[in-house]
């Protein structure tokens, strides 16, 4: 079990994947000048607003990244929802 975990964890934590994720996050700050604490406030408020309409928001799981498009950048928020038993 622990060997399996180790193998699985090593596969999921390739340093190249970590690097890519870190860059995607840090570039949100670099490009739109969103400091980490401002970004946290943004996520918290986003979570509040969405949960007014959709109660099943997982606030700690929200991811905010920046995508560069053809003519403009886009802030992308990924907002996971708890699956309910209904």
């Amino acid at each position: 079990m622990s060997l399996f975990d180790t193998l699985f964890r090593n596969k999921r934590e390739r340093s190249s994947d970590i690097a890519r994720e870190r860059l995607l996050t840090v570039l949100v700050h670099d490009r739109v000048k969103l400091s980490p604490d401002v970004l946290e406030k943004l996520k918290a408020e986003l979570s509040e607003v969405i949960s007014k309409y959709v109660p099943a928001v997982e606030p700690n799981e929200i991811e905010v990244t920046l995508l560069r498009g053809e003519s403009s950048d886009h802030i992308k928020a990924d907002i996971p929802l708890r699956r309910s038993a209904e």
Binding site: R14, S16, A19, R20, L27, D30, L67, G69
Partner: protein
């Protein structure tokens, strides 16, 4: 129509000067008249990479300040008479030159050659701004490392803000074995982050070091993988459709990427 192409990066040491020297030589090998300009005032390097350091009489600042004519400062390459080097000044700093000076200079060079390649200094200040001032297009060099990519991202924004069109990417010093082990970001990773068009991938190659030691460029060494990559980039600069070369067989990551010349679509998932 002559083209002025600036090679820049943000981060220092990622291979701008090596790229400029090799692309200039490759274009000349393919029959073009080329001027390579060292715009890193105060930190002259293009001359030594090309092995022309003993032939410098005048430099870019001498031309701009009128102490000599442009043709007197241009140095013919050892191998290709149609490849000319305009060296940087070694004893001045970047304030010696303005953007207007660079535009004027590149316009003069347009009359003499088919391609003007400008080797930009590292950074984002006046030296960089001067280097792109006269450019029709910009190539951004980066390595697949965190700080280089972060700096390249900043440069992408600045190039577009200065309205120099969409820059194209040269990914340098790729180590395929490390990519396959997941220890180095792949071409796809870097493209996903920077989201600009790729013009070439240059593998890490020890022959670059020994070539530079000798003042020779890698494109002249048939054994050099990096040299071959630069030759392909030169062909793409000229507008040829060159498929990205197989750096190694069995590369799932690169195979998915082959044939993708364009920008990633807006909003694409990782």
């Amino acid at each position: 129509m002559s083209r002025v192409i600036t090679i820049t990066s943000g981060k220092g040491g990622v291979g701008k000067t090596t790229t400029t020297a090799n692309l200039g030589t490759a274009l000349a090998m393919q029959g073009a008249r080329v001027a390579v300009v060292d715009a890193d005032i105060g930190l002259r390097n293009l001359d030594v990479v090309m092995g022309l350091e003993n032939r410098i009489v005048y430099d870019l600042v001498d031309v701009i300040e009128g102490r000599c004519r442009l043709r007197q400062a241009l140095i013919k390459d050892k191998h290709f008479p149609d490849l000319l080097l305009l060296p940087a000044a070694q004893t001045r700093d970047k304030d010696a030159v303005t953007s207007e000076d660079m535009i004027e200079l590149t316009n003069q060079l347009r009359k003499e050659v088919d391609y003007v390649l400008v080797d930009s200094p590292a950074g984002i200040e006046a030296g960089f701004r001067n280097a792109i001032a006269g450019a029709d297009e910009v190539l951004i060099v980066t390595t697949p490392e965190v700080s280089a990519v972060r700096d390249a991202d900043r440069i992408v924004g600045l190039v577009e803000a200065f309205e120099k069109g969409h820059p194209r990417l040269i990914l340098n010093r790729l180590k395929l074995r490390m990519v396959n082990r997941g220890e180095m970001m792949s071409v796809e990773d870097v493209l996903q982050i920077l989201a600009i068009d790729l013009i070439g991938v240059v593998p890490d190659d020890e022959l670059i070091v020994s070539a530079t030691n000798r003042g020779e460029v890698a494109v002249l060494d048939r054994a050099s993988n990096a040299g071959r990559a630069f030759i392909e980039i030169a062909r793409r600069i000229k507008g040829e459709q060159v498929p990205f070369m197989a750096l190694e067989e069995n590369t799932g990551v690169l195979e998915r990427f082959f044939g993708m010349f364009g920008r990633r679509p807006r909003g694409s998932e990782r």
